[in-house]
């Protein structure tokens, strides 16, 4: 948490503010695991931590024995006596050869940290293990003092938040307006804005449980699964292509459909986990359970020319280990690829024990799908008769054209009878790669690259129009065949080798430097010692085979079951933290990707443990916990912030107000489509290709991939279904996970490039244009029309000052477009959606511009 860079120092000041707000006054007891351990970890563990290879003076401070050891009459920590504790003497020393950390270390202690360490020793040096490695026990929600605050408590989440606010002498914000509330919760649960009718119904519903009924309606909506699938796709690094050179297409959308369906069906999170990690290993596994294992085939795949297959295979296993650790352990395993973790109790051996579990799959590392297909075996065949027929038709057609080409080449490239094209002296003189890729290759086996090189040559350099046209036909046929072959629904899944592959620790993680240390599948040793606390019962623990972590080797199913067993202290905490992050903008643990020693301590540790244990007690019921969060009084607060509160808690970690931040870019697009009534609710299926500026794929792939935009309803499907080319993702989505490696927290930035998207992207301009049509049809008067459009986007009516500005703008726009009707006609024609001929183009353009302005209101862009 603390570092030498000024950036971190400011973060530190924020944390100190937070800590002081959280009442860490001098009189308060010091919490070892939250206040002391992080300092030791950051400042000392690099040389005195778990990594035996880097350890200095044989001293390790991450374990009790080392921290309190006496050696040569020198004791590191003497409880109650800082003046004789070597640890304290060293950190306050003025001698360059004594002081710790050493003066040349990039990490130096701050005076506040030294004081905290001194106070900790003086107060008895209570020791404990890192909080996240202890199994959570369900705390009793704290008592909130009587009165108004107590009356605002709606469920057990609130006392945890309110008690902390009371300590900080803050009060929660009043409840948000109903309009703001329904807009907030509808986005959070479905990723879409509420319709005007839904807003009206809620405003008119005077029932005491009106809000809860809205929540239940949203949880039951099929849109719920689509909204939450997005976050899961980000961490599963889902894309429709492999990445790297050539970036070939793959068919993983059936797995995406599986995720949406599982979320909608509220598949308990433990089953959701087990099926995705090891569905194929379940007894009598169903097709859907095998399909679920596509989770760990979503990683990138490097089929670059000259690539060593084993190197690719090993990297893919690394990715699976590290993704698993991030998602279910909140642990950063990457360091341990090469050496024992510097800060966390994860050894290189632990790393390779997990590696062994994922090392038993039949993937070879070479692109086995054939041709340009991105499908790498093993795969689940989900093809249809129609698809298989299309492959045959296109292959037959290719053969037929290839015969024609070869016949032509008999005269084009003269050579003695019975000899091949390559034996023609004319063919040997061809430029570049053509002697090999064209002349030496049978016509029916020529690749796209070769033909792309040959066609311009015979078109311009050495013109032969007839031959060029023939090659063009061949190219079209090859592409048609490839498209058909790639279009066959085969989904990449996991499998298990019949014969185990031995795993050796790789020196520095290098695929070709096997050490002689053989490792078999096991859970990380630190957790193997963790025993479940009796107070954490699992709702369906009875039907789960007990995991004996001491008996190697474990396979994927064992690992999956262990991850969601009471023996893993992290899975429920990490999952609940991600949900909290989605609703409130920041997790209770801000470092959602890391719960280790170097993580930021939780803002509300008891609440996190309460949620984690409640989650398990309720049978890993995701919807139930989502419901609990959004029906809390904490969530329902207004997000208005006073200057003093903003100053005091800029990041809203104490939650004295509701969440307010820009919506994810994919929701902005969905909102625009929904507001204009363009959104097509069709769920599932292949990815779609909506508007995209010309040339993006071509530029990234040297013209080898052409973006062929879809039309009609495919333009208006939800963002979740937009085709994701891994090397250049859809440009409409900014601040989105790159879908290259596991991402559990996306950035939220504020740049001019984002403004250009929502101002100028055809998707947004067309939506403004169609919303203008709807608006002008919905009402007659200028004021009523304005009210309509404003309300569709913000769920409220404009205030008087807002109305004055907007009506004034309408008048000015009308003058501008009346003076330039040609421009009006152009603007009124953006996009492919129909427009009523009866609508005056000037009036249409005026309202299009106004709706575009409304799309860019900060309030429209934000969850408020």
């Amino acid at each position: 948490m603390f570092s030498s860079s000024p950036f971190s120092r400011l973060t530190l000041s924020a944390v100190i503010t937070l800590t002081s707000v959280m009442a860490a006054s001098a009189a308060e007891p010091i919490d070892f695991s939250r206040q002391i351990m992080p300092i030791l970890a950051d400042a000392c563990f690099r040389c005195h931590g778990p990594d035996a290879g880097a350890r200095k003076a044989k001293l390790r401070l991450d374990q009790r024995e080392g921290l309190f050891r006496t050696h040569d009459d020198v004791t590191v920590v003497v409880p109650g006596q800082p003046a004789v504790s070597e640890l304290i003497l060293r950190i306050i020393s003025k001698e360059a050869d004594e002081v710790m950390p050493p003066p040349d270390s990039s990490r130096q202690l701050k005076p506040a940290e030294i004081e905290l360490l001194r106070r900790w020793v003086a107060s008895g040096a209570a020791w404990g293990t890192h909080w996240a490695f202890q199994p959570p026990t369900q705390p009793t929600p704290p008592k909130v003092a009587k009165g108004a605050l107590a009356r605002r408590v709606r469920n057990p989440i609130d006392p945890f938040i309110f008690a902390r606010l009371e300590q900080a002498k803050l009060t929660p914000a009043p409840e948000a307006t109903r309009a703001a509330l329904i807009r907030r919760v509808t986005f959070d649960l479905t990723g879409l804005p509420p319709s005007p009718a839904e807003v009206t119904a809620f405003l008119d519903d005077r029932g005491s449980d009106a809000y809860e009924r809205v929540v239940d309606r949203l949880l039951a909506s099929p849109r719920y699964g689509e909204r939450w699938a997005w976050d899961w796709l980000d961490l599963a690094r889902y894309a429709d292509t492999n990445g790297f050179q050539g970036d070939p297409e793959r068919t993983m959308w059936p797995w995406r459909d599986w995720v949406v369906n599982a979320l909608n069906a509220n598949l308990p999170f433990d089953q959701f986990t087990i099926e995705q990690l090891a569905g194929d290993l379940l007894p009598a596994a169903t097709r859907d359970q095998k399909l679920a294992t596509g989770f760990h085939r979503n990683n990138m795949f490097n089929g670059e020319g000259g690539r060593i297959a084993e190197e690719t295979r090993v990297e893919n296993v690394f990715d699976r280990v590290e993704t698993t650790a991030t998602v279910w352990l909140g642990a950063t395993f990457t360091c341990a690829r090469c050496h024992d973790h510097k800060y966390d109790p994860i050894t290189q051996r632990d790393y390779f024990a997990l590696y062994d579990i994922f090392n038993q799959m039949s993937e070879t590392g070479s692109a086995s799908g054939g041709g340009r297909s991105g499908q790498i075996l093993p795969a689940l065949d989900m093809s249809t008769d129609e698809e298989r027929a299309r492959v045959k038709t296109t292959a037959d057609k290719l053969e037929e054209i290839a015969k024609g080409v070869e016949a032509f080449e008999l005269t084009k490239f003269p050579r003695p009878e019975g000899k091949t094209t390559f034996d023609s002296p004319v063919a040997q003189k061809l430029p570049g790669n053509l002697p090999v890729t064209l002349a030496k290759t049978a016509a029916n086996r020529r690749g796209v690259d070769s033909l792309l090189e040959a066609i311009p040559h015979f078109k311009t350099t050495d013109p032969d129009p007839e031959y060029a046209a023939l090659l063009q036909k061949l190219l079209n046929a090859v592409r048609a065949r490839d498209t058909a072959a790639n279009g066959v629904t085969k989904v990449m899944i996991m499998d298990e080798l019949p014969k185990r592959r031995d795993t050796f620790i790789l020196n520095k993680g290098n695929y070709e430097s096997k050490t002689d240390v053989k490792v078999v599948g096991a859970i990380p040793s630190r957790f193997a010692r963790t025993r479940a606390a009796p107070s954490v019962p699992s709702a369906r623990g009875g039907d789960r085979a007990p995991v004996d972590s001491a008996t190697p080797p474990l396979n994927r199913l064992d690992l999956a079951r262990w991850l969601v067993s009471p023996e893993n202290p992290l899975a429920a905490r990490v999952a609940m933290n991600r949900a909290w992050q989605a609703f409130f903008g920041t997790g209770l643990v801000k470092t959602a990707e890391d719960f280790g020693m170097q993580s930021e301590p939780p803002s509300h540790p008891e609440l996190l443990d309460w949620l984690a244990t409640e989650f398990v007690t309720r049978g890993w019921d995701v919807k139930a916990l989502h419901r609990l969060m959004v029906t809390s009084a904490t969530y329902r607060q207004s997000s208005r912030v006073s200057a003093s509160l903003q100053e005091r808690d800029p990041e809203n970690r104490l939650l004295a107000r509701g969440p307010r931040y820009r919506l994810p870019s994919w929701m902005l697009r969905d909102q625009a489509l929904a507001a204009a009534g363009l959104l097509v609710a069709q769920a599932g299926g292949q990815s779609v290709k909506p508007y995209q500026p010309a040339g993006i794929w071509e530029e990234a792939t040297f013209g080898k991939k052409t973006y062929k935009q879809d039309h009609d309803s495919s333009l208006y499907r939800r963002s979740l279904y937009v085709f994701w080319r891994r090397i250049v993702g859809p440009p409409t989505f900014f601040d989105a996970g790159a879908r290259q490696v596991c991402t559990v927290k996306v950035a939220r930035t504020n740049t001019p490039l984002h403004a250009l998207v929502t101002l100028n992207d055809t998707a947004f301009v067309e939506a403004a244009r169609v919303l203008a049509q709807v608006t002008t049809a919905a009402a007659v008067s200028e004021a009523d029309r304005l009210n309509y459009a404003f309300r569709v986007l913000t769920s409220r009516l404009p205030t008087k000052p807002e109305r004055t500005i907007l009506l004034g703008r309408l008048a000015k726009l009308r003058a501008q477009f009346a003076a330039d009707p040609a421009a009006a006609r152009q603007l009124a024609a953006v996009g492919e959606a129909a427009r009523p001929e009866s609508l005056d183009p000037v009036e249409h353009a005026v309202w299009t511009a106004l709706c575009s302005l409304l799309f860019n209101l900060d309030e429209t862009l934000s969850k408020e």
Partner: protein, 492 residues
């Protein structure tokens, strides 16, 4: 940057906005942003307003350079045919390269299994140039002419043998994709010197024949775990150089101005009511977007460049997306205060076509690279602009292919030695540093690793590479990982 920091940076703006709810129109925003003229003004020598703020106590020490232009040569130019002249290669031409050089070394699969590894002499003539007597091959006549301005490093080495990881290594300090790139680090640490343009701009080009398929991955200019506003903005080679820059058809700049004026007013009402400082940032960013709509077309308008200057860059300078065009753009971006300009050119991967393609690559890149240096020098910009030219590794001194198949001669990937050059930005001109063995196989003297080069680049910008760090996943990350030494010997 942390939103918390930004809130602080914006507090003066907030105080301004706080005074009145209405009437925050064009003029007010312009004064707020420190500019009287909203429409793409010509660059002036006057103190420029700053865009992205940098870190408070940076630079660590007085910088020699304010900006970097990195001319990255994807695919790996052949050092033994261009800069690292080795007479021994001609002596040994066609003979098996000594086993003690190749034994146990890693090559790509293209020659990894090839047992015959005959030495291949340089494919063209070398000569010494300028007062410094630098060896440059006759494929690069224009670079040869300016060799007294250049600092050659002939002892570069790396670990990666495949393109994408090797390029990622140079750009991000890690072979694995996903770490922040050098330009992102610099934008994060030093901020921006322009409000009209992004701090970090990327441009790409490739050889005309598209003989090799090197792809430009966006992680070559990504921000990794740094906030995405630090990532490079890739100017495209066709159409709008910045995506979505153009207003929709039929929506004029005047109409846009009016819309944005009202948008600012409405957002300000919201800010005054709700107190969220992000709203003030958003108002400013919409204004920046509007400025870029003018400044980017102005930037790409070469009509005021003199014919003599254009001629220097060669005929391709007028073709958007060519290396020549991008080099001229790089100079124009440098003039306008852009911090890190990453120009990438692919086409150097001559596995099978050394005799036909290497010359073409040189023709496409030689004049523009030299023209850029001359232009910068004439304008007094070379002193505080560091230019780097180089690829991700070198090429084997031995042959890939068959010795009697001259047309298909090639060289494979070679990480053990290669050459780059630097210019300006406090680097010694007319200087050569480091040396390889007689075969150009291993870097022997004064070896310079990828991380050393990165440490040196940061050093010239006034940054201690060990202290420019960012905490992520519990670790203080930096561009140079845990390595890197500043190459002091090449600094003037």
């Amino acid at each position: 940057m942390d939103p918390f920091l930004e809130a602080r940076a914006l507090s003066t703006r907030r105080q301004f906005f706080g005074r009145s709810v209405m009437g925050v129109g064009t003029a007010a925003l312009a004064s707020l942003l420190g500019r009287g003229n909203l429409v793409g003004a010509a660059p002036s020598a006057a103190v420029k307003p700053r865009g992205l703020p940098g870190l408070a106590d940076l630079p660590h020490f007085a910088p020699k350079a304010k900006r970097v232009i990195y001319l990255f040569q994807n695919g790996a130019p052949s050092h033994v045919d261009l800069f690292d002249y080795k007479p021994k290669l001609r002596e040994w031409h066609g003979k098996q390269i000594p086993d003690e050089l190749t034994g146990g070394r890693r090559f790509s699969t293209m020659t990894g299994n090839q047992t015959a590894r005959p030495v291949l002499a340089e494919i063209t003539k070398f000569a010494q140039h300028g007062k410094s007597g630098a060896w440059v091959s006759d494929f690069l006549p224009k670079i040869a002419e300016i060799s007294d301005d250049l600092c050659f490093v002939k002892s570069m080495h790396t670990e990666a043998v495949n393109h994408a990881p090797a390029i990622t290594y140079f750009m991000t300090g890690s072979e694995m994709a996903g770490r922040p790139s050098m330009g992102a680090w610099l934008s994060y640490g030093l901020g921006s010197e322009t409000e009209e343009l992004p701090a970090f701009v990327v441009m790409t080009s490739r050889d005309k024949e598209a003989s090799c398929g090197q792809i430009f991955y966006d992680f070559y200019w990504g921000s990794g775990f740094l906030p995405t506003k630090y990532q490079g903005v890739a100017f495209r080679g066709a159409g709008d150089p910045v995506l979505y820059l153009s207003n929709p058809q039929g929506l004029s700049r005047e109409v846009r101005r009016g819309m944005l004026d009202d948008l600012a007013q409405l957002n300000e009402i919201k800010r005054a009511d709700f107190g969220d400082p992000e709203i003030a940032t958003r108002i400013a960013q919409y204004e920046m977007a509007y400025r870029m709509q003018a400044s980017v077309p102005e930037l790409t308008d070469f009509s005021k460049e003199s014919p003599a200057v254009l001629e220097r860059y060669g005929p391709e300078v007028r073709r958007q997306g060519s290396f020549a065009y991008n080099c001229l753009m790089a100079r124009r971006l440098a003039e306008r205060g852009v911090r890190f300009i990453q120009v990438m050119h692919a086409g150097w991967d001559q596995h099978r076509n050394l005799n036909s393609q290497l010359k073409i690559q040189c023709e496409d890149t030689d004049a523009p690279s030299a023209a850029l240096i001359r232009d910068l020098k004439e304008r007094g910009l070379l002193d505080d602009t560091l230019v780097v030219w180089g690829g991700e590794f070198g090429r084997t001194p031995f042959l890939q292919g068959k010795i009697d198949d001259v047309k298909q001669w090639g060289r494979d990937h070679h990480p053990y030695a290669f050459s780059i050059w630097l210019a300006g930005g406090g680097v010694k001109p007319g200087f050569t540093y480091g040396a390889t063995d007689d075969f150009g196989f291993n870097a022997l003297e004064n070896r310079v690793h990828v991380h050393d080069l990165q440490a040196t680049i940061l050093n010239q910008l006034g940054l201690n590479h060990e202290r420019l760090t960012y905490k992520f996943q519990g670790r203080n990350y930096r561009l140079t990982d845990v390595h890197g030494k500043v190459v002091n010997a090449i600094l003037s």
